[in-house]
Every structure is written in structure tokens, then in C-alpha cells.
Amino acid sequence: MRGRVLLIRLGQMVLVVLAVVTIAFFVLRLATGDPARLVNPPGTPEEIITQTRERIGTDKPVAIQYVDYLWNAAQGDLGTSFRGAQSVANAVFGALPNTLSLAGITIVISATLAVALGALAAWRPGSILDRGVLVWVALAQATPAFWLAVLLVLIFSLNLRWFPAIDMAGWRSFVLPVTTLVVTLSPILIRTSRQSFIETLREDYIKAARARGLPSWRVFAVHGVKAASLPLVTLIGLQLGFLLAGAVVVEAIFNWPGIGKLILDSLASRDFPMIQGGILVAAVVFVVLNFVVDMLYAVLDPRVGAARA
């Protein structure tokens, strides 16, 4: 990728993050009124509220607060929690790996599943196998993550006692949250993979490869799979946001110490710097991951790679 293109792309990434942070900042402030009142119980004397205001810095005009926030954030300082003196940056970066590991494992399993099932279904469109895959996809697509998580806990934790119901401790605790997220993420990937395989198999180069006498399995596995899986890379990029949203729910249910749970807990306690920090980091991670996905696509697809080289 040429320097100029890279620079434009980086600029876009910064803009997106800035837009998200700005919207979050102002919407949160405007929608809720004075944070100093919110963090104190109703009926708190005015002097205490004024003190709180000075402590958390909301006595200044909102515009100044906004500029201060951006200035500090640019230097890596995301402020301090309204509750107690915990550094937001520490809390957020402590939670981030837990969410990323959950999402990472989910993506790897879902993508593998999608290529395998999509290929199986596309091998004979309209066959029993294909229909089976499509029914599974339809069912999985209609199943809300939070319900599935509760069902899994009910069956595998409460009744069978195979896996822990909450908390992150050892590999066993990954099984139920990851299963939930895979069932949420994989349907669209399987569908796309199936469609992509069907379309790829109609390509002339597939017919040409067969005309060279290559056996069907080889045409499928060598000439089909690489071309057919490319759209999945882009799609995974587009689904990251959805995965992040799914992670919020899953983290809430499994008491998983990730970003989603951090934001939810901060919402309950109206801890604005924490909410803000969580959203900021989520936006950065999201934008960076999308960038990585695009780079990966350029590496995998020689046509794109050459166009940018």
C-alpha cells in the first residue's frame, strides 16, 4: 500500500473514532443533565453537589470539558472514575484482552465452520445436506444470544454441571460464552460462504480446470476454496461490530470481565468517564481490526494487493 493511501486511510480511522467519541460525549451529557446530581443520591445537599462537581470537573462549560477530554485522551489519559479513584485507562485496558480473546476464538471457530459447512452445502445445492445447513442457519439466525446463553447455562451448568456458569477461570469457562457467540456469528458467514461457493463453482476457470482433467475434489479444494473464502474476510470485518454487541450480552450473562461488562456496570453507576472510555477503546479496536481485515484481504487477493501496490 502506498504511503498516501495509507495516510488517507489512517485519517479516516481517526475521524471515525473522533465522530463516535464526540457523539457519545455530547449525547451522554445532553441526555442526562448534570452528572454531579446523577452520581449522588436524590436529596443530597447543594454544597455536596457543588463539591462533587468540582471534583469531577463538570463545573466548567461543556465545550471546555470536551476539549480537555480530547486533549487528555490523545495523551492516553482517559480520566478517573467518578466512583473512587480508579484510572479509566487501567480499567479499560485491563478488560480489553478478555473481550478480545473471546472474540478472537469466536472468529476462528466461526470462519472454519463457515468454510466447511458452506462448501458442503454448495457441493450439491438443493440436496438434503444443503437443506440441513440452511435450516440450521435459519434457526441460529432467529436465536437471540442472551436466550441461548441462558439455555446453555441451564443445561450445561445447572443440570449437567460440565462447565462453569459464570466468571473467567480456565479453559472450561470459555466453552459456553464462545458457543453462544459462534451460534450468533456463524449463520451469516455460513450463508455467505455457501453463496460464494455456488457462485465460484459457476466460474469459467472452474470449468477450465475440470477440462484439464483435474478431479472434482481438487478443483473444489484448490481452485474453489481460496476464491470462495475471500468474501468471508470482508464480511468478518463488517460483523465485528455485531460481535462486539453480542459480547456485551454474553459478558453480562457470564459475568465476564470484559469491555462490555465494564460499560454495562458503569451505566448502572452512571460512571461517565468509564462509559466514555469503554466506548472510545471499543471504537479504536473496531477501527484497527477493520484495517487489519482490509490489509489481510489485500494479502490474500492478488488483484487487490496489486491494485494498491
Binding site: 480446470a209 482433467g213 463488517l238
Partner: protein, 650 residues
């Protein structure tokens, strides 16, 4: 941005206006019917919840909390689905939950779709700055999971009225509608009738709403339907997190959250509302997918396998030229498509001797390519040989299994295609594909394969084989790619090569180079060549014999010189007259008036009758037999019935 929506965007882009016979297809699709029934029942339940619900969904009865449903021990008919932790009737709460969920989801969909429809229409129709601003906005929207922001907003506001929920859920959906509508508008506004309206003085707004809108709005309902399914899940998720409609309103997510807190005591409590969500969303998705499939004009199943099976009728006894390498006898190929069967090849016969070149000519749709694909057993699905024989070295290939054909392809019979740029896999290097083909055919070791690859590339006139090997097909010119294809054939040394318009996609100077190279090689290696083309000049230059096809039938077959100098079929003459002559480029080209007959219809008589200047009554009544004009030269035309050459019906 969302699971369902991304799929929908793909499907909706493909679906055309409602195709003919859509109604019948709806009735024939069981999934769609099940979905329709489900949606109707649930919508009715939601609409009439106050009438059907046995109890007030908010009426508490602390004396009867967590009562089990009727099928569990201790359940009573008073509370069919039991009661919750406040003693409220679960059945009633689920019914009212349907009402609330559907109301919020449907309203949010209306908001998102209206926004998207309007922006999509404007962006697509006016283009320019409006378009780029709206689409950049869309990019930002897609670049971040707005649901996180929604959660944050709903989590901190003091009250959550239904309208706020609708706004927060609905607005992010606009981009999906906008993109689909925009691309539809872009396609539609270029069409003739819109341009005609503009020429007649219709202003932009009138053109937009009177002409473009009616053919564009149809994509919206299918997206909207699947959007509602997605929004129901989102609404329930928010309610589950305690960010939906505030209590005591009954919501599916809320009931489930209550249930989860008490699931150790009553396990059915979280299960029931989840089932309601799954059934609802599944029904909606079934209807949405079903409708998208009904609207999808490309509703044809295709697969990898040669769908040809044992159902070939037994071949009639065939007399074959014993010297022929390839004898095609009475070949019929059909493509059973939904609604009609295309009969692409209708009784084609020809012979090809070892080392000989056969030119096959005819306009598009004459069955040239289909015949070649049938010979190598690679008809595009659902094409199948319905009758006839393809005798290769004395064996009938039409009766071969795909596995057996695979052993012949490449080694004995090879094929090169019209467009070299798409005959090579775009994501694999030239070298990889060439070596793969060579290794497969020769079974040689890595080193030998590498050596052979270099050799054949040089043989087809590539000066820098190592560099070319490392490149991808898109980095090479069409001529270079076709050389690579020929190199693959050369490495395999087959007995028969089918070349389907091998130079049509190339520029004129390259054409001659490639063809010369091809013919040199086939002559040197004694490879029989079937050269398919619509260019008679090529045939006269390179072929020994010539087959003229029209609408899947043989018009004329014979030695090239004889056919060209004395064409006997009016169609062959017309083809020859349509060739521009170098000597007299100013001479007006003869264009054959009329069109090919409908390939779906059965026909009687000569297929060329409607366009033939010499047509007689009998031509429309009885299919003309093939008359022997001279040894090895036949023409299927009644004009030769009275000639000295004796009429022989085949």
C-alpha cells in the same frame, strides 16, 4: 452492520421485479408457507392480545408466585404457562410481550426504511455532492457498532419512553435501505424510458416519483421484513439488559431476564419467552428469504457435478466412420430450466479424423459451444445429453460416468475457452496452475514438472517463462493468458482439442499469432482440432472440414474448400456473404434478416425457413433430410432434392 441485514442487502440487490409465476412459486415453497402462517398467527396474537390474554399482564398475586405451567406437576388451568416471581400470568405477559416487541420493532423499521428510502432515492437520482455526503455518512455509520452507543444512551437517560427506543433502534437501519435503493435507482435512471421522459420535458422530481420510484420501491418490503426480525432480537436484547420499555410493561426480553434470576427454582420461566422470540423471528425470516427467492430472477440451481446420469436413451445403431477419432451421432442436448426446456442441440452428426481440423461455424445460439461442452462432458448444469452418441476412439462418451470422463479430460481430450482471462483462476499464479496441470497429466516429479513447464511456455512463444510463472492471470494480456492455456494443452498432448472461439477476445494482430501457433502445434503433434468460431475466414484458412450449425441443427457439412466455393445451404451462403472482403471493404455487408427460432419450442420443418430467401411450402412442414452433394459433403435443404445427386434421408 447486522447479521440479517448484510444478507438481505445481498439478496435484495439480486432480486428483480416480481417474476411471472411468482404466485405459484409461493404456494410451492413449503418454508415460505410455514413462515406466512407463523407470521399471521403471531401478528394476530399481538393485535388481539387484550382480547385473548386470560389475565391482566401486570396484575400481581403474591400468594401464587412461580406457579408451574400446566404440563409440569402442580400446574393448573388458571395459569396455562404458570406465573412469574410476582405471581403474574406468564401466558398473558408473553402475549402482551408480542404486542410490545412487534410494535417497537415495526415502528423502528418504518422509521429506518423511510429514512433509507428517501436518502437512497435522493443519493441515487441526484448523485454528485448529495450522493457523496450521504454515502460517507453511511460509511461512518457502518464503521462503528452503533448498538453500543444505543446501549449507552438508553442506560443513562432518566426515562425510556417507547419513542426513544424506536428512534435509537430505527435510525441506524437507514443505511441498508439507502444503499440498496441507491444502487437500484442508479440502474433505473439510465433506462430508455426515463431518458425519454426527460426528453419530453418531465422535470427531475416528476421523473423520480413517476418513473423511477415505481420500479425501485419493490426492494424495500423484503429488506423491511428481515429488518423487523433483526429489530425484534435487538429490542429483546435491550429489554433483557434492563434497557427496554420500563417495567411493568411486558417484554420478551424482560420476562426472560426475570426468568433467569429465578431459573434455579423454575427452569421453564426463561425458556418460554425465548421460544416466542425464536418462533417469531424464524417465521419472519422464512417469509423474507422465501420472498427474496421468489423475486430472484436467477432462480436456477447449479452445481459442480455433471448432472448427466444413466437416463440416456439407448443409442440407435450408428454407422461410424471407422477412421474417425471422434464421431458424434444424433446428439441432443437439453437444459431443463424452470418453466421451459431449452433444446440447444437437436440431432448433430459429424466425424473428425485423427490429425484433422474441423471448423464449426454458426451465429451465437447455434449450439456450437454446447456441442463441444457435451463432447468433453462439461455441460453447464442443468444441461444434459438426452439422446445420441459421442464416439471417441470407438467408445461412447455420452455413457461415461463423470469419474471416467475425468481420466480422459486433459490427457485425451482438452478444451480451451473463449476468454482466457476467466479461464485461469484469478487468485493462483500462472506457474502454479500450469505445474498443477502438468503434474496431474504426467504424474512426473516436482523437478521434471518444473522443467516441462518452462519448456512448454517457451514453446508457445513466451520468452521469460520464470517471470510469467510468478504472475497472476490479471497481470498478463489476453494473448499471454491464451498462450498459457495452449501451453497446458501442449504439455498434455491430447488426441483431441476443442477450441471454443479461442481468439475472439483478443485483438486482431494477436489473433493471428495465437491461431498460427495453435495450428502449428496441433499439426506437429497430430492433435485433432475442433475450432469453434463465428469467423468463416478463420475456418477457410485453418480447417480441413467445416460444419455449419443453425439453431442446434446441422445445415451443411463437408470439406472446407468445397463448402466455401460451393455453399449449398442458403444459411451457409448468407454467412459467407456477411463476411467483409478485404478486396472490397466498401461493399455493404449482407446482414441476415430475422432471428433464431425459439430454442424452447418444438419445431417442424427447416429451422431457417423464416429467414430463407428460397423458402418453399414444404420447408415449413417437414424437416429437410440431408442431401449428399458430393462425397463427404451434405446439405440439409430441399433445394437439392431435384439435383442429380440422389436424395438420401438420414
Amino acid at each position: 452492520m447486522s447479521d440479517a441485514l448484510a444478507t438481505v442487502e445481498q439478496t435484495a440487490l439480486r432480486s428483480g421485479p416480481i417474476a411471472a409465476g411468482a404466485g405459484r412459486r409461493i404456494l410451492r415453497s413449503p418454508f415460505l408457507l410455514v413462515g406466512l402462517v407463523g407470521v399471521t398467527v403471531i401478528a394476530a396474537a399481538a393485535a388481539f392480545a387484550p382480547l385473548i390474554a386470560p389475565d391482566d399482564p401486570t396484575a400481581q398475586n403474591l400468594a401464587n408466585i412461580l406457579a408451574p405451567p400446566i404440563w409440569v406437576e402442580g400446574g393448573t388451568t388458571d395459569h396455562l404457562l404458570g406465573t412469574d416471581v410476582l405471581g403474574r400470568d406468564v401466558a398473558s405477559r408473553i402475549l402482551y410481550g408480542a404486542r410490545n416487541s412487534l410494535f417497537v420493532a415495526f415502528s423502528a423499521m418504518l422509521l429506518g426504511s423511510s429514512l433509507g428510502l428517501i436518502t437512497g432515492l435522493l443519493a441515487g437520482f441526484f448523485g454528485g455532492r448529495v450522493d457523496s455526503i450521504l454515502m460517507r455518512l453511511g460509511d461512518v455509520q457502518l464503521a462503528f457498532p452503533f448498538i453500543l452507543l444505543a446501549i449507552a444512551i438508553l442506560g443513562v437517560v432518566a426515562a425510556r419512553p417507547a419513542w426513544l427506543l424506536i428512534v435509537v433502534l430505527g435510525i441506524p437501519g437507514w443505511i441498508v435501505y439507502a444503499r440498496v435503493v441507491r444502487s437500484r435507482v442508479l440502474a433505473e435512471k439510465e433506462k430508455d424510458y426515463v431518458a425519454a421522459a426527460a426528453a419530453m420535458g418531465a422535470g427531475p422530481w416528476r421523473r423520480l416519483f413517476r418513473y423511477v420510484f415505481p420500479s425501485v420501491w419493490q426492494v424495500v418490503p423484503v429488506i423491511a421484513l428481515l429488518d423487523v426480525g433483526f429489530l425484534i432480537i435487538m429490542e429483546s436484547t435491550l429489554s433483557f439488559l434492563g434497557l427496554g420499555l420500563p417495567p411493568p410493561a411486558a417484554t420478551w426480553g424482560g420476562i426472560l431476564a426475570d426468568g433467569r434470576r429465578n431459573m434455579v427454582v423454575s427452569q421453564w420461566l426463561p425458556i418460554l419467552p425465548g421460544l416466542a422470540i425464536v418462533v417469531t423471528v424464524l417465521s419472519i425470516n422464512l417469509v423474507g428469504d422465501g420472498l427474496a427467492a421468489v423475486f430472484d430472477s436467477r432462480h436456477i440451481h447449479r452445481g459442480l457435478r455433471r448432472p448427466f446420469s444413466s437416463s440416456v436413451p439407448s443409442a440407435s445403431p450408428v454407422d461410424t466412420d471407422s477412421e474417425a477419432l471422434l464421431s458424434v451421432r444424433g446428439l441432443h442436448v437439453e437444459f431443463p430450466l424452470p418453466g421451459a426446456t431449452v433444446k440447444a442441440v437437436r440431432g448433430v452428426d459429424f466425424d473428425l479424423a485423427a490429425g484433422e481440423t474441423l471448423g464449426v461455424v454458426g451465429e451465437s445460439g447455434s449450439g456450437k459451444s454446447v456441442t463441444a461442452s457435451a463432447v468433453i462432458g462439461l455441460l453447464d448444469p442443468p444441461g444434459r445429453i438426452t439422446n445420441g452418441a459421442v464416439l471417441f476412439g470407438g467408445e461412447d462418451l455420452a455413457r461415461f460416468s463423470d469419474r471416467r470422463m475425468t481420466t480422459l479430460r486433459g490427457r485425451q481430450i482438452a478444451m480451451i475457452f473463449q476468454n482466457p482471462a476467466v479461464s485461469l483462476n484469478p487468485v493462483l499464479t500462472i506457474g502454479f496452475q500450469l505445474r498443477e496441470a502438468i503434474r496431474h497429466v504426467t504424474g512426473a516429479d516436482r523437478h521434471t514438472v518444473r522443467h516441462t513447464a518452462r519448456q512448454v511456455l517457451v514453446a508457445v512463444g513466451i520468452e521469460d517463462p520464470d517471470r510469467i510463472s510468478r504472475q497472476y492471470p490479471f497481470q498478463l494480456s489476453g494473448g499471454m493468458n491464451q498462450r498459457v492455456m495452449i501451453a497446458m494443452v501442449l504439455a498434455a498432448r491430447p488426441r483431441l482439442l476443442l477450441a471454443d472461439e479461442p481468439t475472439t477476445a483478443l485483438d486482431t494482430t494477436t489473433q493471428a499469432q495465437i491461431l498460427n501457433r495453435l495450428v502449428e502445434l496441433t499439426e506437429a503433434e497430430q492433435i485433432s482440432l475442433v475450432l469453434i468460431t463465428h469467423d468463416i475466414a478463420l475456418v477457410s484458412e485453418y480447417a480441413d472440414r467445416m460444419l455449419v450449425l443453425y439453431a442446434g441443427e446441422v445445415c451443411e457439412f463437408g470439406p472446407v474448400r468445397q463448402v466455401i466455393s460451393q455453399p449449398r445451404h442458403p444459411y451457409t451462403r448468407a454467412l459467407l456473404e456477411s463476411v467483409p472482403r478485404v478486396e472490397d471493404p466498401a461493399e455493404r455487408l449482407q446482414v441476415i434478416p430475422g432471428e433464431l427460432p425459439d430454442p424452447r419450442r418444438d419445431r417442424v420443418g427447416c429451422p431457417f425457413a423464416d429467414r430463407c430467401p428460397h423458402v418453399m411450402d414444404i420447408c415449413r412442414e417437414v424437416t429437410p433430410p440431408r442431401y449428399d452433394i458430393a462425397p463427404g459433403h451434405i446439405a440439409a435443404c430441399y433445394l437439392w432434392a431435384s439435383e442429380p445427386a440422389e436424395a438420401v434421408a438420414t
